[in-house]
């Protein structure tokens, strides 16, 4: 059975061919104009972030293999989708990621070691969301799309949409994958965003595999059309083309910040690595497919463009290699040191205000850890009888 989602006749916004050549096709002028903002400096900055994201990926994967991380979800192959879209953000915009957006975090300035706290199992979060306007990773698939819409509804109420002031107008981007589009929460998010005309960009990285299940088993209609019935316009962009991703996201963000409502972007890409370090892609996909996509590597594509346009000088490459080494060294040494703190910290921040059940559990645990005699009844009450209870 042929699925429309496989590609072929489906339109794909592309400004850069896989060999790194700029292309001009009918109907893409508005995007070419937006990408024209990208000076050699900005392109080099994107390249820098993409290379560092991949290096981070390699180091994190190695750390997992050494037993230093509980798990890791590589972003390899999705660097253009993540870095290109994140470069379209302004500081006041807000991001609601899933759990693979290491390239977005790189651009937003979230510390590389903090990014691994979650995967090491020393934290459930890892960073203060309001420091970089990036929420923590969300593991329950698609749940964050609704949070993004609610946050955008708050921006509307705060009067930071459609003022015309670039320093004020703000929007939200939520990232999710092809599998997440099957979740009810993503559809509900499209409903709420649409009827509220909220400033949200739904950024779907269609990496073609939801763990082992291909996109053809998630949808019969190309994903960029998912928003149509909800009144949310969609665009399908070559997710390995950083120029096209940047242009499409910039357009969607401008629209959102203006007060013209949400957009759905399908970034058509490929998860070059495993779903996570616990996955075995050889059980469900072919090496031919992997080789095909290895030839569409997003980093190689941007590098080819930069070389062709004379924008990659040796000094830059030397600095970049040094930056990558610094990042790698830091990730290798600092991640090993991550520790959640004392065992009693498991009782912290369950509630903002005192909760007697947590308090009694903590008190019992502390006395148990201290090797004190059985604490008796778990509540703060004086036992009626000295024998009390046991746990």
């Amino acid at each position: 059975m042929k699925h429309e989602t496989d590609g072929g006749d489906v339109p794909l916004l592309q400004l850069l061919t896989p060999d790194g050549t700029r292309v001009t096709t009918r109907g893409t002028k508005q995007y070419r104009d937006l990408a024209a903002d990208l000076t050699p400096d900005r392109l080099r900055a994107m390249y820098h972030d993409m290379v560092l994201t991949r290096r981070f990926d390699e180091e994190a994967t190695a750390l997992q293999r050494q037993g230093e991380l509980a798990l890791y979800a590589p972003a390899r192959g999705q660097e253009a989708a993540q870095v290109g879209s994140a470069h379209a953000l302004r500081p006041q915009d807000y991001v609601f990621p899933s759990y693979r957006e290491h390239g977005v975090l790189q651009v937003r300035g979230v510390d590389p070691v903090d990014r691994l706290r979650f995967y090491r199992g020393s934290d459930h979060g890892g960073w203060d969301p309001n420091e970089h306007n990036v929420q923590m990773y969300t593991v329950v698939i698609g749940a964050q799309a609704l949070h993004a819409v609610g946050y955008a509804m708050g921006m509307q109420r705060d009067g930071v949409v459609g003022t015309g002031d670039d320093a004020v107008d703000a929007a939200v981007v939520t990232y999710f994958g092809d599998g997440a589009t099957s979740q009810g929460d993503v559809s509900e998010a499209l409903v709420f965003a649409s009827v509220n005309n909220s400033p949200v960009v739904f950024f779907c990285q269609n990496n073609q595999w939801a763990i082992s299940v291909p996109t053809s088993k998630q949808t019969k209609v190309p994903l960029y059309r998912r928003g149509e019935g909800f009144g949310v316009p969609g665009v399908r962009v070559d997710g390995n083309d950083v120029l096209a991703v940047y242009a499409a996201t910039t357009e969607a963000l401008q629209r959102a910040r203006r007060g013209d409502g949400p957009t759905f972007i399908e970034a058509y890409t490929y998860r070059m690595g495993a779903h996570t370090t616990s996955d075995d892609p050889t059980r469900y996909r072919t090496s031919e497919q992997e080789e095909l996509w290895a030839g569409r590597d997003p980093i190689a594509r941007l590098e080819a463009l930069l070389r062709a346009e004379g924008a990659l000088d040796e000094a830059f490459l030397t600095d970049l290699a040094a930056d990558a080494e610094v990042l790698a060294e830091r990730v290798r040494t600092e991640t090993r040191k991550l520790h959640p703190g004392s065992a009693t910290t498991i009782f912290d921040d369950v509630y903002a205000t005192p909760h007697s059940i947590v308090a009694e559990d903590r008190a019992w645990f502390e006395s148990f850890e201290a090797g004190e005699p059985p604490a008796g009844p778990v509540s703060a009450h004086t036992p009626a009888h000295p024998q009390g209870g046991t746990r």
């Binding site: 609601f96 934290d123 459930h124 979060g125 203060d128 969301p129 309001n130 929420q135 923590m136 969300t138 329950v140 749940a143 799309a145 609704l146 949070h147 993004a148 819409v149 609610g150 946050y151 955008a152 509804m153 708050g154 921006m155 509307q156 109420r157 705060d158 009067g159 009810g184 929460d185 509900e188 998010a189 409903v191 709420f192 009827v195 912290d348 921040d349 369950v350 509630y351 903002a352 205000t353 005192p354 909760h355 007697s356 059940i357 947590v358 009694e360 009844p377 778990v378 509540s379 703060a380 009450h381 036992p383 009626a384 009888h385 209870g389």
Partner: protein, 341 residues
């Protein structure tokens, strides 16, 4: 969208009034909306209709559509967007139309809302209130009479409360809204039309989120109830008095956390404890109370802790619900059994 809802200047009523429990919540919501511009109400049919139980009657007209929001018909969507609004600094109060309709939002409540503060080590929180009319006795069809409080009480990170009187309803809804923690606010819908005195100037702190209340003093048996069964417990206590038995009635108010101290103080005095709730007894709040009382009052107990509650069956058809719901007769039977030990 207007950033400041246009509305006429409101003077809040003061003094003591006789209100139904539903109207008391309405007045509490009204005061919360007036006191804090970040408070928002969200739900299905809560605007011009005023909610299917009219709990939000008149509030959209008074505070505008941006603050009293008729949402799309999607409970996960309501809770998920409320979380986002809370992360942006708002204080959403979500109405779930009926107990049986909360389950599409169960994922957002248990995996997201309950854990945001914990996951972020206190960096962010989501002070969302979820109002759920619950309980039976109103002759309704399927999914309109359930008591799912134990499912939420089992989730760390949530506070679970339920008022039994108009005064508590008025105070507790305001305390729930000012709490920095997420609160599931169970409203005993069978008691919506019961009336009581409400002091509209009652102080709003946080006491009702943590503290049970002894609503009738007694010496021979402790009846622990909450929400809709407090009235049943009080009627039972009256009947017991005729029989020469003195029952103390504890209105739990908070199910998470349970105020163990108040229950224990009472049972150490009376030596007997009967817990009454509409929810199925199996793995219910009564089981937790029985465990706590047994652990802490073991040498004071004259009899095992007994429970009067729902059976392990789906909520039955309306025509038979009065055979299912805890009644005064069933409470008296449990007390008799406690005394027979």
């Amino acid at each position: 969208m207007t950033t400041t809802a246009e509305r006429r200047e409101t003077t809040m009523p003061s003094g003591t009034r006789t209100l139904t429990l539903a109207k008391a919540i309405n007045e509490g919501l009204r005061r919360a909306l007036a006191n804090d511009p970040k408070v928002l109400l969200m739900g299905e049919d809560i605007g011009p209709l005023g909610g299917v139980f009219r709990v939000t009657d008149g509030l959209q007209e008074e505070f505008g559509e941006d603050r009293v929001v008729d949402t799309p018909l999607a409970e996960s969507g309501i809770l998920g967007t409320a979380i986002g609004l809370a992360l942006r600094g708002y204080r959403p109060v979500c109405e779930i139309q009926f107990d049986g309709f909360v389950f599409p939002a169960f994922n957002q409540i248990t995996t997201q809302l309950a854990k945001l503060r914990y996951r972020s080590r206190g960096a962010v929180g989501a002070p969302v209130v979820v109002r759920i009319p619950y309980g039976g006795g109103i002759g309704a069809v399927e999914h309109h009479s359930e008591s799912p409080e134990a499912l939420f009480a089992h989730t760390p990170g949530l506070r679970i409360v339920t008022p039994a009187t108009p005064q508590d309803a008025y105070t507790m809804i305001q305390e729930a809204i000012t709490s920095p923690d997420p609160v599931i606010f169970f409203e005993p819908k069978g008691r919506y039309w019961s009336k009581g005195e409400v002091d509209l100037d009652a102080p709003v702190g946080s006491a009702t989120l943590n503290a049970a209340k002894v609503v009738r003093a007694g010496t021979d048996v402790t009846l622990v109830a909450y929400g809709p069964t407090v009235a049943t417990a009080l009627k039972s206590a009256e009947a017991l008095e005729v029989e020469g038995r003195s029952a103390e009635v504890v209105d739990l108010r908070a199910i998470s956390p349970i105020d163990t101290a108040t229950i224990v103080d009472s049972v150490r005095k009376t030596g007997r404890c009967v817990v009454i709730h509409e929810a199925p007894m199996y793995f219910g709040a009564g089981a937790e109370i029985a465990a706590r009382v047994t652990e802490e009052c073991f040498y004071s107990l004259e009899a095992p802790v007994l429970r009067v509650g729902g059976f392990h069956i789906p909520y039955p058809v309306a025509k038979l619900e009065h055979d299912y719901l805890p009644s005064v007769d069933r409470v008296l039977d449990a007390v008799d059994r406690a005394f027979a030990h």
